[in-house]
Amino acid sequence: MMRFILLLFFCITGVANVNGSTPAEVPDTMDDRVKACTICHSAEDKVGRDAYYPRIAGKPQGYLFNQMRNFRDGRRYYPPMAILLENMSDEYLLEIAQYFSSLQLPYPDPEQIQMQPEEIKLAEHLIYSGYPERDIPACSACHGDVLMGVEPAIPGLIGLPRAYITAQLGGWRNGGIMRGGKPDCMSEIAKQLTESEVNAVAKWLANQSVSGKPSSFDVLSSELVDRCSQTILENGGAE
């Protein structure tokens, strides 16, 4: 059946091309409006010629909205995206964020990275217990029990490749990524992590397969909401 539909599709578009005319109508969809984005952002993270293009499909809406405003307003640095977003209103950014957030694309299979037993222990301790004495809460306290994120502004940690996780945590550790301008809860936590902790967590997370959904906002303790208020409250609101 699928083949037949595809064939039909090619016939139609083929005929249009032979006639040498442009269709007078363009689908009035978000899909068509964000072609400028999907040339880089596809279902899978991919390595581009100039940078690493993360998957954005299915990430929480508020998180995507925040990041897009950060790029547009110069608080996160990647010029090719800043140029595209430069003249977009907050309303439109929100709609684009909503669109990508709602995309249910299949996730790639988890990576298969060899890990020593003590590395696994280290990673799981950080992720599910944290180190209160070093002021590091469990990752799961903010990123949700199943680590699929918390609506609307905390992203999931599963389904991200190891290289991306290492790069983001590394960026925060050496002050590279200044998302939101001022230091925020996540950058404070990343700065506390040692290099071997970053490596262990990144490997462990990349080895998990995606299951479950983002948690709802009320799972966050009020202490953690306070701690991240800059990112997930003030900065998360539209103008």
Partner: protein, 431 residues
């Protein structure tokens, strides 16, 4: 799949989509806005309202706001070939803004280019155009600025290269190039024409970009002749030549649409011009937009003559082969949107056939479009634009040169070929 007829698209957008966005995001907003105080705005006088409108048309906020910073608090860095200028705080803060200024001080700045303490101001502040603004309009702008919440923010000093940092050089420059004086109307022209000229030459400060500048950064002319924008890798086309962006043969409605929505069936605004439309021109009142259009049209109304572009007598075989290579790239990467016939889809994907921006002498903007892609500005008339992907991460310089050469010479277009070197030179130069 959902299709809708183009002509009803705009209306449809306004009515349904905005509403949908609102509803969808309501939960999110409620969550996030509860922290914000939703104080009602205090009553504003007519003068302040009018001042707010004029401030938009002068786009004071565009320059006097840092990226992601507090509106009107200054701190934006403007890079030019003379150094980096930092804009000042225009909020009524007494220590760091213009809270202690009088109407007279403000007039002196806008009309004469002198600060409150008499310091000569640099023409990176386009007082060379604002000098044409009337006293009454200047007072209204001042009243509006004084009504803003004060923001305490001191901005760093300018960083200007030798010898341009010399006070006496600035004084000499002013005697040579600065002509102080309010706009004088031309009695032989209509009221609308005069209003348009007042706005284009004065508050709209179109000449600040649409001009050729000499070594000292002075406009070479007052005729909107076009030129490369200082410190930015963009070419602002001439508005007074039909070889570039003159609109003599355009309908008034179409010019109005371009200025206020950023797109028409023949053209689309990009880069700095898209920013001008988003921040400023989309807010033009109907009469003012019409007046501007009348004036712009008049600049090239009587011009006739050759069409833009270069003439090749006969296309040689090797040239044709060269262009064919570009044609293959076009088919692979561009045709899906711009069409086999280069006609695009009106209001969505601009036509490349017969597009004045594509065949303009300077290939700079076309190359930039292909390297960086872009979206037209979001405006009330075009709130959900379609976009063009960037290609610099996919195509090599040679390939960009080929495809640009192709679109400049397909479908009856004629313009000079582009080399890989031109592509390399067009990179960078963003804020």
């Amino acid at each position: 799949m959902r299709h809708s007829v183009i002509t009803t698209r705009v209306i449809w957008w306004k009515n349904t989509i905005l509403l949908q966005v609102c509803v969808r995001s309501l939960a999110f907003l409620v969550l996030t806005m509860s922290a914000q105080v939703m104080a009602g705005e205090p009553e504003r006088s007519d003068e302040v309202d009018y001042g707010a409108y004029l401030t938009r048309i002068g786009n004071c906020m565009g320059c006097h706001t840092a990226k992601g910073g507090q509106p009107f608090a200054g701190g934006r860095r403007l890079s030019t070939s003379f150094g980096v200028f930092v804009t000042s705080n225009l909020t009524p803060d007494k220590e760091t803004g213009i809270g202690r200024w009088t109407q007279q001080d403000f007039w002196q700045a806008l009309h004469q280019g002198k600060s409150r303490d008499g310091r000569l101001l640099y023409p990176a502040f386009p007082y060379t155009e604002y000098t044409k603004v009337t006293r009454q309009d200047a007072d209204a702008i001042f009243a509006y600025l004084q009504s803003l919440p004060p923001v305490s923010q001191s901005n760093p000093p300018h960083d200007i290269f030798f010898p341009y940092n010399s006070k006496s050089l600035l004084a000499v420059w002013r005697t040579l190039y600065f002509k102080e004086g309010v706009y004088e109307s031309d009695q032989s022209k209509s009221e609308a024409w005069n209003r348009g000229a007042y706005l284009v030459q004065g508050l709209g400060h179109c000449t600040a970009c649409h001009t050729t500048r000499n070594m000292l950064g002075a406009s070479q002319d007052e005729a909107l002749m076009g030129g490369q924008i200082m410190g930015m890798n963009w070419y602002a086309p001439s508005l007074s030549s039909h070889l570039e962006a003159g609109s003599g043969d355009w309908e008034i409605d179409e010019i109005v649409a371009l200025l206020t929505t950023g797109v028409t069936k023949r053209a689309v605004t990009s880069g700095p011009m898209a920013t001008v439309v988003r921040q400023s021109l989309q807010y033009l009142s109907q009469e003012d937009a019409l007046a501007m259009a009348v004036y712009l049209k008049s600049l090239t109304e009587n011009e006739t003559g050759r069409l833009p572009g270069v003439k090749f007598s006969v296309m040689s075989g090797s040239l044709r082969k060269h262009l064919d290579l570009g044609g293959q790239l076009y088919q692979e990467y561009c045709q899906a949107c711009h069409g086999t016939d280069g006609k695009g889809v009106p209001g969505i994907y601009p036509a490349l056939a017969g597009n004045r921006s594509v065949i303009m002498d300077s290939p700079l903007n076309v190359i930039r479009s292909v390297l960086n892609g872009g979206y037209p500005p979001t405006t009330a008339g075009n709130p959900r634009p379609y976009g063009m992907p960037p290609f610099q991460q996919i195509l090599r310089n040679e390939e960009v040169a080929l495809v640009v050469s192709y679109i400049r010479n397909a479908w009856g277009n004629r313009a000079s070929l582009v080399r890989a070197l031109d592509v390399d030179r067009s990179k960078g130069g963003d804020d």
